[in-house]
Symmetry: C2
Subunit: 393 residues, 2 copies
């Protein structure tokens, strides 16, 4: 038994963590564009990186140096430092060296988001380090600094009280799958905790819960060169596996769904729940295909209860399915039932009402097995095209 409550303060609600965001002119209009997350002493750190073969230089740095301890994460917006070759990696090394020398941190690492294929404004970043107040506790500023086309910052924190009365805290910030002028849709997530989570458990837990949270969301189906989830554990408070997993999942789920809701130009978030598939893998395949389908996404934008596009997408997803076994629901409204055409004007009106909501569920029962998966997606409208076709300059 444990008790998990939402608390304010974002990352700095966890004792021993400091963070802030400042402006060094990477974004226009003095917007915040450089952030740090610092811990009072070295943390265990684990991470999940993009599966893109062209990992950005800061990710290569972490992997090549086999970083397992960390007391400082530097995060810049506007430049992904991806496809920048050896020079890009050398830039990271130089900046990390400057962090050690100028800020006195021991195990720094770096995370970047922004345009691909352009060298980092290295000197500006190094000069910016001096402006950091390392004692700052401003999670919201850090959340703002890592934003690109996000419309709002994303932060969350939970305090967990174990049955023994002991407590731990876990918190995170994230930026969304929005493209920066005009690089890739990068997703960055930083989670910190004071729980004494065993080092060897960190990666498996991240992987397990990423599957149903960050890996279940989709804004445009592309995978960035920079996507990262970091988990920093200070290990000074209590730990209990069940409670920690619960809270970690809550943090990841909250941030992942915030990212979908804030998808570029998105007006609504939709849960695509596929049940009754042959197995979970087939359910996932169909659910992800639905959340990525342009035809489905534009129908969501148009609030058009076009279940035919849902059906056709299921049919083309490559999973085992039969017209006479398929059921489709919009929330609790059954719109297609096993091969019978009975979608009339009245039902269409009801279905359209479901679609006018900011958030709703499309449930597909494949009717062949017990596989289930829920993917989360958003609509695609003019704003998406506008954001992504605007010329960089």
């Amino acid at each position: 038994m444990f008790n998990c409550i939402s608390i304010k303060g974002g990352i700095v609600s966890v004792k021993g963590f400091y963070c802030d965001g400042i402006s060094i002119g990477l974004k226009p209009n003095n917007e915040l564009d450089l952030a740090f997350i610092r811990s009072s002493k070295p943390c265990n750190i684990s991470y999940l990186f993009t599966t893109n073969r062209f990992k950005a230089a800061p990710l290569q740095y972490v992997e090549q140096n086999k970083i397992e301890q960390c007391d400082f994460i530097l995060i810049n917006a506007k430049n992904a430092n991806a496809m920048t070759g050896k020079e890009g990696l050398a830039d990271v090394e130089e900046i990390m060296q400057a962090c050690k020398e100028k800020l006195g941190v021991q195990y720094p690492l770096m995370s970047s988001t922004g345009v691909i294929g352009v060298r980092l404004p290295k000197q500006r970043i190094i000069d910016g380090l001096q402006k950091f107040d390392l004692k700052a506790k401003n999670s919201t500023h850090a959340s703002y600094a890592i934003m690109t086309t996000d419309r709002y910052p994303k932060e969350v924190a939970f305090e967990v009280t174990l049955s023994s009365g002991e407590k731990f805290t876990i918190a995170g910030i994230a930026k969304g799958a929005g493209m920066i002028d005009p690089a890739m849709a990068t997703m960055l997530c930083f989670i910190v905790t004071d729980a004494k989570v065993p080092k060897e458990m960190m990666k498996p837990l991240l992987q397990k819960h990423a599957k149903t949270t960050f890996n279940a969301i989709s804004v445009d189906g592309d995978r960035s060169t920079n996507d990262s989830i970091f988990l920093m554990s200070l290990g000074e408070s209590a730990y209990e596996e069940e409670a920690f997993e619960f809270a970690l999942h809550k943090v990841m789920e909250y941030l992942a769904l915030k990212i979908v809701s804030d998808g570029e130009g998105a007006k609504k978030m939709v849960a695509f729940e596929v049940v009754g598939a042959k197995d979970d893998k087939e359910a996932q395949k169909a659910a992800k295909k639905l959340s990525n389908s342009l035809l489905v996404k534009t129908a969501l934008f148009g609030e058009d209860p076009n279940w035919g596009r849902i059906a056709s997408t299921i049919g083309s997803s490559g999973i085992e399915c039969y017209e006479e076994k398929l059921q489709i629901y919009f929330d609790s409204l059954l719109v297609y039932d096993k091969g019978k055409v009975y979608f009339d004007a009245q039902m269409e009106q009801k279905a359209a009402q479901v679609m006018q909501q900011k958030s709703f569920k499309i449930l597909c029962n494949i009717g062949v097995g017990n596989g289930a998966f829920t993917a989360y997606g958003c609509d695609l409208g003019h704003e998406y095209v506008k954001i992504n076709s605007d010329y960089r300059t």
Copy 2:
């Protein structure tokens, strides 16, 4: 040796074929919406259908009746007759029976495009049969009648003269991957020939040439319940394998590229040529991923020479690739060369000029093997969103 020349007349340039398009009120404003293709005597017919598990009723009719001979194809727009269950199939059977009785044809089949999940206006179609002039030779009217969101009809014909002096003709019409208010992006293609192509060669040849033509194009990455390619062969003229394959490929390539150019809202057509992949399959995987990427498609729309999105899409396509081996060209302009950042303002300007063209090539040399594939795609802009989000009513 043979000589292949483009001729006018579309489908009816092939002796023994008749076709027309009429209006029966399926589309508004008396637009043409019902077409037929008729041959003077039964033809051998072969076809390729969508891989969507939910095949439309007219496709089920062809498969269930194992149709190998055909003298009449009836084509309606505005209703796909898909996801309509047993009733949908019964509708096709009834209409086919009416064709036999009222028009005296022996082996009719049917092809539909339009909204999914709504019963066919069966009686209206049956009544419409009476209005057909079976001696009509109007390929353009037929091409118009099968259009949905297509902006122009698509027809082509070639006359091939063999070294012996004998001739054959091959011609086709197609409709594009445009969505009809608001069903799936259906692609229909009808090819007719008088060449004496051996029956057993028809399907293998269709499959072989579909791979590099229709299966290489992409408008939105979705696969309809109704996609079909039909090949009717009257078998009264000469045949020579090499010449026939050449001409068949030309017909399929012409119509496939016309469909991409006329993709919904598309302003430009782009050939994504991937070379140097581990094998052809990997090249195809990367090329198709490029032609389907929302980020790439919106960059094309914005005429933004954003090679970073191209690189990142290659990297996330799952193929073997390395930053230090990759080269990216816009037409003949090298914009990325094996890990070196050298894309400057001058080059950007040149690249932007390439992108302002109506048609150009993006070539990616993966640098690891000899695999090659070219996929064809188009840009995605506001018009696409408009067409696909407009409410049906």
